[in-house]
């Protein structure tokens, strides 16, 4: 009898044990966080908190937003340019739209493919850079010329015209191409050349901008090295400026600045992605102030320092300056144009 009771007790015990194990196993499965909803479980001390970096000392902000943002109504904007009359040109996926500085649409040029960059020459011609070639449009929007393709590796990201020269930044091939206005290639600038002390461009993400400065030299952004380099039209490197730093004076992340524009006084406006900042440097490359900080340009939580290029392959803003020194920032996420004017006395 005792033996039978003992067996029954053992079975009961085993049953309870199995039941408990099943319950715990089910709980373990339910509690398993397979999509990272509960975070990484690390304390606050491990958080890569860049909130501090997004704060800008108000005393350093020397510009203010002077008008309502211009809503472009375009889907995927890429570049902005301002002509001598103050008209604003915005390049998007299938069109270039022209606005007055009050945001009135003045015209639109339909394009067959996405435009990556554009510039307006002093004679009013519009140079539009596509993925692998340049097209020229007159003031009425009629296509005047289409230059030869630069090949499948080409990715044109910036264009600048000065007199008879046109300079095109090709991020895909990491080189600046010098053309004449007829589309003939005159030379290449910036290819790594130890004999000429040219370090070569480091371009981890598709942002590679250039401008022709008032001193007659090209200013080309070398984003991977976080600096701006000055070249002669013949391709000799003269000097560079810019330091790697998350501090407000420097450029940080994998690749910054992403865009640059020249101010009427010879200074520069730079635009950074990731930790989105638009800043002003004097003609010597010394930090001069901030146009707008992250809190003004993006929503809270949208800032990041892109240590890896993969993290920031898009979302870079573009910048342009008019003759009066107003700064036009193209927000490529919201597809609008923000206008900033220098605060008097600063």
């Amino acid at each position: 009898m005792d033996q039978i009771t003992g067996k029954a007790n053992t079975r009961l015990l085993v049953g309870i044990l199995i039941g408990l194990a099943v319950m715990v196993a089910v709980m373990a499965v339910v509690r398993l966080d397979v999509i990272g909803r509960k975070g990484n479980g690390l304390g606050k001390g491990f958080k890569y908190d860049i909130e501090e970096l997004t704060r800008v000392d108000p005393a350093l902000i020397v510009y203010e937003e002077s008008a309502d943002a211009i809503e472009t109504g375009l889907a995927a904007t890429h570049g902005i340019a301002v002509d001598s009359k103050g008209f604003i040109y915005v390049a998007a996926d299938r069109a270039v739209r022209i606005f007055s500085d009050r945001g009135v649409i003045l015209g639109e040029i339909e394009l067959a493919e996405p435009a990556g960059c554009l510039t307006v020459s002093t004679d009013g011609n519009l140079f539009v850079g596509f993925k692998d070639h340049v097209e020229i449009y007159d003031a009425q929007g009629q296509r005047q010329a289409s230059w030869d393709s630069l090949g499948t590796n080409a990715l044109l990201t910036s264009i600048a015209a000065q007199g008879d020269d046109v300079f095109v930044a090709d991020a895909g091939n990491r080189v600046v191409i010098r053309y004449d206005v007829s589309g003939n290639v005159l030379g290449h600038i910036g290819k790594k050349d130890s004999f000429r002390n040219v370090p070569g461009f480091v371009i981890p993400s598709p942002y590679f901008d250039l401008v022709v400065s008032r001193d007659g030299l090209l200013r080309v952004v070398n984003p991977g090295r976080r600096r701006v380099e000055a070249y002669t039209f013949e391709g000799d490197i003269e000097f560079w400026w810019g330091v790697s730093s998350v501090d407000i004076e420097g450029f940080c992340g994998c690749c910054n600045p992403v865009n640059i524009a020249v101010l009427p006084d010879g200074g520069y406006v730079t635009c950074e992605k990731g930790l989105v900042r638009v800043k002003v440097y004097d003609s010597e490359g010394q930090f001069a102030g901030v146009v707008a900080g992250p809190s003004q340009l993006v929503r809270e939580g949208e800032c990041r320092v892109c240590d890896l290029p993969e993290e920031c392959q898009a979302g870079g803003f573009d910048v342009a300056v008019d003759a009066a020194g107003r700064v036009f920032v193209l927000d490529t996420i919201r597809n609008n144009v923000r206008i900033f004017t220098k605060i008097e006395g600063r």
């Binding site: 085993v14 196993a25 499965v29 398993l32 940080c252 992340g253 949208e302 898009a314 996420i333």
Partner: protein, 431 residues
């Protein structure tokens, strides 16, 4: 000597300064002011391709040896030794990956996603056990599968699982297989790998919950033989069906069954079928009616299951990261949440259109809706066929290892008097 040391020091300093300049040229880490020193990143070397092919050769050899030991040698001791080897090699040494069970998902994804290519070694891992099962029964389960091996080793006090519970619990594996196929086909998740209960044990690291899950299954496995293999393993579902068709299979007796009943309780997996007495006319009549009823409701069960599976699309689709992201962005856009997540902030930084994301998410939900019909229909079909199977009388005159359920472990061999006769005869021949 002093001069030489100065020269060396000078050269070293020059090299260090050059290195510092060069490192500043590339991507420097962000500035920290906490005094934290950035550790040097270490990138482990990828495993050489040759080892993958060695794994396939070892698998092939283990399957061949297991088949020989089970069918020809009939040695439980040797099968056990091979089980231990497989646990050490495929489990602890190869850390449970790649395995045929998880390989199912790779194969499914490659069928539904033209851009996904299955490595030949993964395909071999998936196919080889199937081929061997088709010819020799579940010899993979017997001594090659590391998941089976780890459970086999802890089986100390086996208790019999009632047949009704066995049949019911086995449905879990079918549902799990259906879900695994659905999630893999939609590119959402490899849930078999994600919920692999023994991976943390093999790798000696991993998520605590998975470790608990594995420990619980092993604890259950002390009393219930191989609970994962019998009630959960999705690959086992496929092996069961192939084993039904296998050309050769394990037999309890080497020649004839003398119906001594000694093997009756020998199988800890409940895979030994007793001789079946013929039903009485009354039972036969009841079973006939029941069979008719189940045949009639089979389509209803399939449709009902399909509808239920499809209805779960909104919930199931959340397994896909795009859907989760779209739902999060929607909450942020409608102001229902104020904070962003890493994923939503990263998405916004890409500059992609939210509408495009919503469209992608809708497309994935539709895939789940469509796939849900198949998943639910499959579950309904399995339940229906199981009910039909209960109403069919199968003639059995001897004690037999169930074709589908038998894991070919060889435990029953020594219980058979005929096996002892065979061994004696073999010994005599030797001497």
């Amino acid at each position: 000597m002093m001069r030489f040391a100065q020269i060396i020091t000078g050269i070293a300093l020059a090299l260090i300064s050059c290195g510092l300049v060069w490192s500043a040229e590339r991507f420097p880490p962000p500035d920290f002011e906490s005094g934290h020193e950035m550790p040097s990143p270490t990138t482990p070397h990828p495993r050489q391709d040759i080892y993958e092919y060695i794994d396939v050769v070892v698998l092939l050899a283990a399957l061949g040896l297991a088949s020989y030991l089970v069918l020809k040698k009939r040695s439980r001791r040797a099968i056990f030794a091979l089980t231990v080897f497989s646990l050490l090699y495929f489990g602890f040494w190869r850390e449970g990956c790649v395995c045929p069970i998880g390989g199912t998902q790779n194969i499914v994804l490659s069928i539904f996603d033209a851009e996904y290519v299955v490595p030949i070694t993964v395909a071999a891992f998936f196919l080889l056990p199937l081929v061997f099962t088709l010819f020799f029964g579940r010899t993979f389960c017997a001594a090659v599968c590391p998941l089976g091996a780890v459970q086999d080793l802890v089986l100390c006090r086996p208790v019999a699982v009632p047949s009704w519970a066995e049949s019911g619990l086995r449905l879990l594996a079918y549902v799990y297989l259906g879900a695994a196929v659905l999630f893999a086909a939609t590119g959402s998740a490899f849930i078999i790998c994600r919920y692999d209960p023994f991976i943390s044990i093999f790798r000696l690291t991993g998520d605590l919950n998975i470790l608990i899950l594995g420990a619980c299954l092993l604890l259950i496995g002390v009393f219930v033989g191989r609970p994962y293999c019998r009630f959960i393993c999705p690959y086992g579902v496929v092996l069961r069906q192939l084993s039904r068709l296998s050309r050769r299979r394990v037999t309890i007796t080497p020649d004839e069954c003398i119906q001594c009943k000694l093997c009756e309780e020998s199988c800890p997996f409940g895979a030994i079928k007793k001789p079946a007495a013929k039903w009485s006319d009354q039972d036969y009549g009841i079973a006939k009616k029941r069979l008719g009823f189940f045949l009639l409701i089979l389509p209803v069960l399939v449709l009902l299951g399909g509808w239920a599976g499809s209805s779960l699309k909104a919930v199931a689709a959340r397994a896909h990261e795009t859907v989760r992201l779209a739902e999060r962005i929607y909450l942020e856009e409608t102001g229902e949440v104020t904070e962003t997540t890493d994923a939503s902030a990263a998405f916004r930084a890409t500059g992609k259109e939210i509408e495009e994301l919503y469209a992608d998410a809708s497309s994935i939900r539709a895939q789940f809706g469509f796939g849900g019909w198949f998943f639910g229909g499959f579950a309904g079909l399995v339940i229906g066929l199981k009910l039909i199977g209960l109403s069919v009388w199968r003639q059995r005159t001897d004690y037999e290892a169930d074709r589908a359920s038998c894991l070919a472990c060889g435990r029953c061999f020594e219980y058979c008097p005929r096996e002892h006769v065979r061994l004696e005869q073999a010994k005599e021949v030797k001497t």
